[in-house]
Symmetry: C2
Subunit: 136 residues, 2 copies
DNA sequence: GAAGCCTGTGCAACCGGGTTGCAAAAGTGC
DNA sequence: GCACTTTTGCAACCCGGTTGCACAGGCTTC
Protein backbone atom coordinates (compact mmCIF):
# COMPACT_ATOMS: atom_id res chain seq x y z
CA UNK A 1 0.00 0.00 0.00
CA UNK A 2 2.70 2.41 1.08
CA UNK A 3 4.50 1.42 -2.10
CA UNK A 4 1.50 2.25 -4.22
CA UNK A 5 1.20 5.65 -2.63
CA UNK A 6 4.87 6.47 -3.07
CA UNK A 7 4.76 5.29 -6.62
CA UNK A 8 1.69 7.32 -7.41
CA UNK A 9 3.43 10.47 -6.19
CA UNK A 10 6.70 9.76 -7.93
CA UNK A 11 4.86 9.16 -11.15
CA UNK A 12 3.75 12.77 -11.00
CA UNK A 13 7.05 14.10 -9.68
CA UNK A 14 5.82 14.94 -6.22
CA UNK A 15 8.10 14.34 -3.26
CA UNK A 16 6.45 12.06 -0.76
CA UNK A 17 6.07 13.78 2.59
CA UNK A 18 4.03 12.66 5.55
CA UNK A 19 1.16 15.01 4.87
CA UNK A 20 1.09 14.25 1.18
CA UNK A 21 0.95 10.53 1.73
CA UNK A 22 -1.85 11.01 4.21
CA UNK A 23 -3.85 13.15 1.84
CA UNK A 24 -3.30 10.84 -1.09
CA UNK A 25 -4.37 7.92 1.07
CA UNK A 26 -7.60 9.76 1.79
CA UNK A 27 -8.22 10.16 -1.91
CA UNK A 28 -7.48 6.51 -2.64
CA UNK A 29 -9.76 5.39 0.16
CA UNK A 30 -12.94 6.88 -1.18
CA UNK A 31 -14.67 7.44 -4.43
CA UNK A 32 -16.34 10.76 -3.66
CA UNK A 33 -14.52 14.02 -4.24
CA UNK A 34 -12.84 15.69 -1.26
CA UNK A 35 -12.77 19.33 -0.24
CA UNK A 36 -10.33 21.28 1.88
CA UNK A 37 -12.77 21.31 4.77
CA UNK A 38 -13.05 17.53 4.63
CA UNK A 39 -9.32 17.20 5.01
CA UNK A 40 -9.26 19.69 7.86
CA UNK A 41 -11.84 17.62 9.69
CA UNK A 42 -10.18 14.32 9.00
CA UNK A 43 -6.72 15.42 10.08
CA UNK A 44 -7.49 17.89 12.80
CA UNK A 45 -3.85 18.14 13.77
CA UNK A 46 -2.78 19.28 10.31
CA UNK A 47 -2.76 22.90 9.29
CA UNK A 48 -5.29 24.27 6.83
CA UNK A 49 -2.63 26.03 4.77
CA UNK A 50 -0.56 22.90 4.46
CA UNK A 51 -3.54 20.92 3.29
CA UNK A 52 -4.47 23.72 0.93
CA UNK A 53 -1.02 23.77 -0.58
CA UNK A 54 -0.94 20.00 -0.76
CA UNK A 55 -4.07 20.10 -2.87
CA UNK A 56 -2.59 22.80 -5.07
CA UNK A 57 0.58 20.80 -5.55
CA UNK A 58 -1.39 17.70 -6.43
CA UNK A 59 -3.48 19.68 -8.85
CA UNK A 60 -0.50 21.30 -10.54
CA UNK A 61 1.04 17.90 -11.05
CA UNK A 62 -2.22 16.53 -12.36
CA UNK A 63 -2.63 13.93 -9.69
CA UNK A 64 -6.02 15.38 -8.85
CA UNK A 65 -8.38 17.79 -10.56
CA UNK A 66 -10.66 20.35 -9.01
CA UNK A 67 -14.42 20.23 -9.24
CA UNK A 68 -16.67 23.22 -8.84
CA UNK A 69 -20.02 21.63 -8.15
CA UNK A 70 -21.71 24.85 -7.19
CA UNK A 71 -21.81 24.12 -3.48
CA UNK A 72 -19.46 27.00 -2.84
CA UNK A 73 -16.46 24.91 -1.90
CA UNK A 74 -14.08 23.36 -4.38
CA UNK A 75 -13.70 19.63 -4.28
CA UNK A 76 -10.97 17.47 -5.71
CA UNK A 77 -10.82 13.99 -7.13
CA UNK A 78 -8.04 11.73 -8.31
CA UNK A 79 -7.24 11.92 -11.98
CA UNK A 80 -7.19 8.74 -13.99
CA UNK A 81 -3.66 7.40 -14.09
CA UNK A 82 -3.47 8.17 -17.76
CA UNK A 83 -4.99 11.59 -17.31
CA UNK A 84 -3.38 14.58 -18.87
CA UNK A 85 -6.16 16.99 -17.93
CA UNK A 86 -6.67 17.62 -21.63
CA UNK A 87 -10.09 18.42 -23.08
CA UNK A 88 -10.68 14.78 -23.89
CA UNK A 89 -10.17 13.91 -20.24
CA UNK A 90 -13.10 16.11 -19.24
CA UNK A 91 -16.09 14.31 -17.86
CA UNK A 92 -19.37 14.98 -16.17
CA UNK A 93 -19.52 15.43 -12.41
CA UNK A 94 -22.41 14.37 -10.29
CA UNK A 95 -23.55 15.98 -7.05
CA UNK A 96 -25.97 14.08 -4.86
CA UNK A 97 -28.45 16.49 -3.35
CA UNK A 98 -28.96 14.30 -0.32
CA UNK A 99 -25.54 13.15 0.84
CA UNK A 100 -23.83 16.08 -0.83
CA UNK A 101 -21.14 13.83 -2.25
CA UNK A 102 -19.64 14.59 -5.62
CA UNK A 103 -18.50 11.94 -8.05
CA UNK A 104 -16.62 11.84 -11.32
CA UNK A 105 -18.64 10.14 -14.00
CA UNK A 106 -15.55 9.05 -15.83
CA UNK A 107 -17.57 7.00 -18.27
CA UNK A 108 -19.82 9.89 -19.17
CA UNK A 109 -18.03 12.17 -21.59
CA UNK A 110 -19.45 15.64 -21.99
CA UNK A 111 -21.89 15.69 -24.90
CA UNK A 112 -21.12 17.91 -27.80
CA UNK A 113 -23.15 21.06 -28.12
CA UNK A 114 -23.76 23.53 -30.88
CA UNK A 115 -22.69 27.06 -30.16
CA UNK A 116 -24.02 30.12 -31.93
CA UNK A 117 -22.01 31.04 -34.97
CA UNK A 118 -18.86 32.97 -34.18
CA UNK A 119 -18.51 31.42 -30.74
CA UNK A 120 -15.60 29.09 -30.20
CA UNK A 121 -15.40 26.44 -27.57
CA UNK A 122 -12.62 26.03 -25.09
CA UNK A 123 -13.82 23.87 -22.21
CA UNK A 124 -17.02 22.78 -20.56
CA UNK A 125 -18.07 22.36 -16.97
CA UNK A 126 -21.03 20.11 -16.54
CA UNK A 127 -22.43 19.22 -13.15
CA UNK A 128 -25.46 17.02 -12.80
CA UNK A 129 -27.47 17.13 -9.61
CA UNK A 130 -29.67 14.33 -8.43
CA UNK A 131 -29.69 11.29 -6.22
CA UNK A 132 -26.80 8.88 -6.10
CA UNK A 133 -27.28 5.13 -5.91
CA UNK A 134 -26.94 5.13 -2.12
CA UNK A 135 -29.52 7.83 -1.53
CA UNK A 136 -32.41 6.92 -3.73
CA UNK B 1 -39.73 52.44 -21.81
CA UNK B 2 -40.69 53.26 -18.27
CA UNK B 3 -43.97 51.54 -19.03
CA UNK B 4 -42.20 48.43 -20.18
CA UNK B 5 -40.16 48.30 -17.02
CA UNK B 6 -43.14 48.78 -14.75
CA UNK B 7 -45.06 46.20 -16.63
CA UNK B 8 -42.26 43.70 -16.47
CA UNK B 9 -42.16 44.04 -12.70
CA UNK B 10 -45.89 43.90 -12.21
CA UNK B 11 -46.04 40.79 -14.32
CA UNK B 12 -43.94 39.11 -11.68
CA UNK B 13 -45.64 40.76 -8.74
CA UNK B 14 -42.76 42.97 -7.78
CA UNK B 15 -43.47 46.47 -6.57
CA UNK B 16 -41.67 48.99 -8.71
CA UNK B 17 -39.28 51.04 -6.60
CA UNK B 18 -36.59 53.37 -7.81
CA UNK B 19 -33.76 50.92 -7.24
CA UNK B 20 -35.64 48.04 -8.80
CA UNK B 21 -36.43 49.98 -11.93
CA UNK B 22 -32.82 51.02 -12.20
CA UNK B 23 -31.58 47.47 -11.81
CA UNK B 24 -34.11 46.08 -14.24
CA UNK B 25 -33.13 48.76 -16.72
CA UNK B 26 -29.54 47.61 -16.45
CA UNK B 27 -30.61 44.07 -17.25
CA UNK B 28 -32.70 45.16 -20.21
CA UNK B 29 -29.87 47.27 -21.56
CA UNK B 30 -27.38 44.50 -22.03
CA UNK B 31 -27.28 40.93 -23.10
CA UNK B 32 -24.51 39.73 -20.82
CA UNK B 33 -25.26 38.50 -17.33
CA UNK B 34 -24.75 40.91 -14.44
CA UNK B 35 -23.19 40.33 -11.04
CA UNK B 36 -23.63 42.14 -7.76
CA UNK B 37 -20.26 43.81 -8.15
CA UNK B 38 -21.27 45.12 -11.58
CA UNK B 39 -24.30 46.79 -10.06
CA UNK B 40 -22.24 48.23 -7.23
CA UNK B 41 -19.92 49.80 -9.74
CA UNK B 42 -22.62 51.07 -11.99
CA UNK B 43 -24.66 52.69 -9.22
CA UNK B 44 -21.99 53.73 -6.81
CA UNK B 45 -24.48 55.63 -4.71
CA UNK B 46 -26.62 52.56 -4.08
CA UNK B 47 -25.98 50.25 -1.21
CA UNK B 48 -24.60 46.77 -1.75
CA UNK B 49 -27.21 45.16 0.49
CA UNK B 50 -30.05 46.83 -1.34
CA UNK B 51 -28.74 45.68 -4.66
CA UNK B 52 -28.17 42.22 -3.23
CA UNK B 53 -31.73 42.02 -1.98
CA UNK B 54 -33.05 43.42 -5.22
CA UNK B 55 -31.39 40.57 -7.04
CA UNK B 56 -32.78 38.07 -4.57
CA UNK B 57 -36.27 39.49 -4.96
CA UNK B 58 -36.02 39.37 -8.72
CA UNK B 59 -34.78 35.81 -8.54
CA UNK B 60 -37.55 34.68 -6.19
CA UNK B 61 -40.10 36.12 -8.52
CA UNK B 62 -38.43 34.49 -11.50
CA UNK B 63 -37.68 37.69 -13.28
CA UNK B 64 -34.00 36.73 -13.38
CA UNK B 65 -32.09 33.53 -12.78
CA UNK B 66 -28.69 33.09 -11.25
CA UNK B 67 -25.71 31.73 -13.12
CA UNK B 68 -22.72 30.14 -11.49
CA UNK B 69 -20.12 30.32 -14.21
CA UNK B 70 -17.24 29.29 -12.00
CA UNK B 71 -15.70 32.74 -11.81
CA UNK B 72 -16.45 32.87 -8.12
CA UNK B 73 -19.16 35.48 -8.30
CA UNK B 74 -22.76 34.73 -9.15
CA UNK B 75 -24.20 36.45 -12.15
CA UNK B 76 -27.80 36.97 -13.09
CA UNK B 77 -29.67 37.22 -16.35
CA UNK B 78 -33.22 38.01 -17.32
CA UNK B 79 -35.52 35.06 -17.65
CA UNK B 80 -37.48 34.65 -20.82
CA UNK B 81 -40.87 36.25 -20.39
CA UNK B 82 -42.49 32.85 -20.50
CA UNK B 83 -39.95 31.37 -18.14
CA UNK B 84 -41.07 29.35 -15.19
CA UNK B 85 -37.58 28.29 -14.16
CA UNK B 86 -38.68 24.70 -14.71
CA UNK B 87 -36.25 22.01 -15.90
CA UNK B 88 -37.28 22.59 -19.48
CA UNK B 89 -36.28 26.22 -19.16
CA UNK B 90 -32.71 25.25 -18.35
CA UNK B 91 -30.16 26.20 -20.95
CA UNK B 92 -26.46 26.32 -21.48
CA UNK B 93 -24.44 29.31 -20.30
CA UNK B 94 -21.40 30.63 -22.04
CA UNK B 95 -18.46 32.37 -20.43
CA UNK B 96 -16.06 34.24 -22.65
CA UNK B 97 -12.54 33.77 -21.39
CA UNK B 98 -11.42 37.09 -22.79
CA UNK B 99 -14.08 39.66 -21.93
CA UNK B 100 -15.34 37.58 -19.02
CA UNK B 101 -18.92 38.14 -20.03
CA UNK B 102 -21.48 35.43 -19.50
CA UNK B 103 -24.38 34.79 -21.83
CA UNK B 104 -27.47 32.64 -21.81
CA UNK B 105 -27.59 30.37 -24.81
CA UNK B 106 -31.35 30.23 -24.75
CA UNK B 107 -31.43 28.31 -27.99
CA UNK B 108 -29.08 25.66 -26.72
CA UNK B 109 -30.93 23.26 -24.48
CA UNK B 110 -28.86 21.06 -22.23
CA UNK B 111 -28.18 17.78 -23.98
CA UNK B 112 -29.42 14.64 -22.37
CA UNK B 113 -26.87 12.46 -20.69
CA UNK B 114 -26.82 8.90 -19.49
CA UNK B 115 -26.24 8.43 -15.81
CA UNK B 116 -24.95 5.26 -14.23
CA UNK B 117 -27.71 2.92 -13.19
CA UNK B 118 -29.35 3.84 -9.90
CA UNK B 119 -28.55 7.52 -10.29
CA UNK B 120 -31.47 9.83 -10.81
CA UNK B 121 -31.28 13.24 -12.39
CA UNK B 122 -32.56 16.41 -10.88
CA UNK B 123 -30.95 19.36 -12.64
CA UNK B 124 -27.89 20.20 -14.66
CA UNK B 125 -25.52 23.12 -14.69
CA UNK B 126 -23.61 23.43 -17.91
CA UNK B 127 -21.16 26.23 -18.55
CA UNK B 128 -19.20 26.44 -21.76
CA UNK B 129 -16.03 28.48 -21.83
CA UNK B 130 -14.56 29.90 -24.98
CA UNK B 131 -14.49 33.00 -27.08
CA UNK B 132 -17.60 35.01 -27.80
CA UNK B 133 -18.30 36.52 -31.19
CA UNK B 134 -16.84 39.88 -30.16
CA UNK B 135 -13.57 38.48 -28.89
CA UNK B 136 -12.50 36.01 -31.52
C1' DG C 1 30.45 19.77 11.48
C1' DA C 2 29.32 24.70 10.45
C1' DA C 3 27.29 27.62 6.89
C1' DG C 4 24.20 28.01 3.37
C1' DC C 5 20.25 26.54 0.79
C1' DC C 6 15.81 24.61 -0.60
C1' DT C 7 11.51 22.55 0.50
C1' DG C 8 7.78 21.84 3.35
C1' DT C 9 5.04 23.18 7.35
C1' DG C 10 2.49 26.18 10.64
C1' DC C 11 0.45 30.41 12.24
C1' DA C 12 -1.76 34.73 11.50
C1' DA C 13 -3.79 37.71 8.85
C1' DC C 14 -6.15 39.10 4.83
C1' DC C 15 -9.49 39.14 0.79
C1' DG C 16 -13.82 38.99 -1.63
C1' DG C 17 -18.36 37.36 -2.29
C1' DG C 18 -22.25 36.58 0.07
C1' DT C 19 -25.39 37.19 4.07
C1' DT C 20 -27.77 38.88 8.39
C1' DG C 21 -29.43 42.16 12.16
C1' DC C 22 -31.13 46.22 13.07
C1' DA C 23 -32.77 50.78 12.68
C1' DA C 24 -34.16 54.64 9.74
C1' DA C 25 -36.90 56.00 5.75
C1' DA C 26 -40.54 55.50 2.53
C1' DG C 27 -44.91 53.86 1.22
C1' DT C 28 -49.83 52.16 2.37
C1' DG C 29 -54.29 51.89 4.57
C1' DC C 30 -57.42 53.74 7.72
C1' DG D 1 -52.29 62.05 11.37
C1' DC D 2 -51.25 57.44 12.96
C1' DA D 3 -50.24 52.57 12.86
C1' DC D 4 -48.39 49.20 9.92
C1' DT D 5 -45.62 47.02 6.25
C1' DT D 6 -42.03 47.36 2.96
C1' DT D 7 -37.79 48.97 1.37
C1' DT D 8 -33.37 50.88 2.09
C1' DG D 9 -28.81 51.75 4.29
C1' DC D 10 -25.13 50.79 7.39
C1' DA D 11 -22.34 47.74 10.01
C1' DA D 12 -20.86 43.67 11.01
C1' DC D 13 -20.26 38.93 10.19
C1' DC D 14 -19.35 34.27 7.81
C1' DC D 15 -16.82 31.17 5.07
C1' DG D 16 -13.81 29.52 1.50
C1' DG D 17 -9.77 30.65 -0.37
C1' DT D 18 -5.19 32.84 -0.34
C1' DT D 19 -0.75 35.19 1.02
C1' DG D 20 3.28 36.66 3.98
C1' DC D 21 6.42 35.33 6.92
C1' DA D 22 8.99 32.69 10.05
C1' DC D 23 10.69 28.33 11.29
C1' DA D 24 11.88 23.30 10.87
C1' DG D 25 14.10 19.65 8.45
C1' DG D 26 16.94 17.71 4.99
C1' DC D 27 20.80 18.14 1.94
C1' DT D 28 24.90 20.11 -0.11
C1' DT D 29 29.40 22.37 0.01
C1' DC D 30 33.35 23.56 1.85
Amino acid sequence: MQETLDHRLEERNIKPTAVRLLVLKAFMAQEAAIGLADLENRFDHADKTTLYRTLKTFEEHKLIHSIDDGTGALKYALCQETCDCAPEDLHVHFLCTVCNKTFCLNDTPIPQINLPTDFSLDSVNMVVKGLCSDCR
